[in-house]
Symmetry: none
Subunit: 224 residues, 2 copies
DNA sequence: CCAGCGCGTTAAGAACGCGTAAAAACGGGC
DNA sequence: GCCCGTTTTTACGCGTTCTTAACGCGCTGG
């Protein structure tokens, strides 16, 4: 889920963007001035910023500079000014893109996609953490107390499937058919053997698991 | 030094951009059509592409798609069309920015700076170091104790792929299909032979590798 | 109360993957 | 056509992983 911070002082624009972006699957965070924008960016995880340069409390360039002081989040600038001087200043201050009003919503959406596509690959780090261990999906790594835990292919495959469905119950059939193949959907004792190995490697008390739980007769559940 | 590939079919624009960008410190490579552009991008190191959509031999979108097939180089599109549909198509095809003609040179320069600023930090790190050896990606050089280590093409290709994904597990299939080609995705014994050669050349104790690790049944991992 | 079921644990043989070395095939330069 | 470096095969020993089986435990329903 991508989170967009929209910074604008005109309520109707704010509202229009909120509705439209939300309708396209974005999580929307609003700010009506520069101060609120900087505060919002520091307190929650923002994936991309849409910034109107005309703000009541501070210059839009200051907002860009304030963000760039600690963050590399993509910034798309909206402005009514067509002058190339304004564009140059905003871009050199650290903005990623500059759109002049009036603009089409589909164009803004396309530029949002372009911005998040660039930043996406590096920021999209699927890290799943528990009190006991950490699973790094991207690097195929399991850490426990700073040490890497060695996993066999089957163990990893099983763990990955559970961890990718945090909190959700995964049925025995699904586990078996995705890890061993559809033909093995009835060999439930494989699960017992491998769940035991996972628990011995990852749980503090393998006999009383805290994260890799058994749902008798149904399947298994991973809780972070 | 930043290298710009300019793709345009109008000689006077090509010439004007060449002179101006060169005056601002860029190395300029020119292409008058899509075929030449793709060829140029493959034979030399390009940092950013400036692409006019109106080309004689192929659609500009095809050029974008062709580049995006293997490269993540920033692409700035120039176009006379103001329609938002054209913008959306180009951006979704993989372009990073879209500038409509007529445009100011200073605006283009600012957008060039913004594009290279984003890409710069990650591509400007062609040195990967370990306690044992150093890999210079830019110069295709491997140093060990101040001495250059001779690498065959296959060895280098394999090493480069691993080193470009530090800490990450790279699957056997990915290694085989990127180094030898998709048809070799099952010839896992190639990997054993060449990983052995790399370890003999780079590791202090080839039998107990510290940086080129094997994850049985899954793939290999480089750790710095 | 006990039989049946599902779960967890352990152990051992079979099967597979890995590392190594060395030979054979290939290909480009002279 | 020959030589030399590189790539592709081949073979074998060894360690790891998978599979299978056996056993004990707790819960449930008859």
């Amino acid at each position: 889920m991508t989170t967009v911070l929209i910074v604008d002082d005109e309520p109707q624009i704010l509202r229009a963007l909120q509705i439209n972006l939300h309708a396209h699957g974005y999580t929307v965070v609003l700010a009506v001035n520069g101060t609120a924008a900087l505060a919002a960016a520091q307190t929650q995880a923002i994936d991309v910023v849409v910034l109107d340069l005309g703000l009541p409390d501070m210059d839009g360039l200051e907002v860009i500079a304030g963000l760039r002081g600690w963050s590399e989040v993509p910034i798309i600038v909206l402005s009514a000014r067509h002058g190339s001087h304004d564009k140059v200043e905003a871009l050199d201050a650290g903005a990623d893109d500059y759109v002049t009003k009036p603009f089409g919503l589909d164009e803004l959406l396309a530029r949002l996609r372009a911005a998040t596509r660039r930043a996406g690959p590096q920021s999209a780090e699927p890290l799943v953490e528990t009190a006991e261990f950490t699973v790094d999906l991207a690097n195929r790594l399991v850490l426990r107390g700073g040490e890497a835990v060695r996993m066999t292919p089957t163990e990893w495959s099983l763990l990955e499937l559970l961890v990718r469905n945090p909190g959700r119950l995964v049925s025995q059939q699904q586990l078996l058919s995705e890890v061993w193949g559809p033909a093995y959907a009835k060999e439930t004792h494989y699960l017992r053997v491998y769940m035991g190995q996972l628990r011995r490697k990852l749980e503090a008390d393998p006999a009383n698991p805290a994260h890799l739980l058994t749902e008798a007769g149904m399947g298994y559940r991973f809780v972070p």
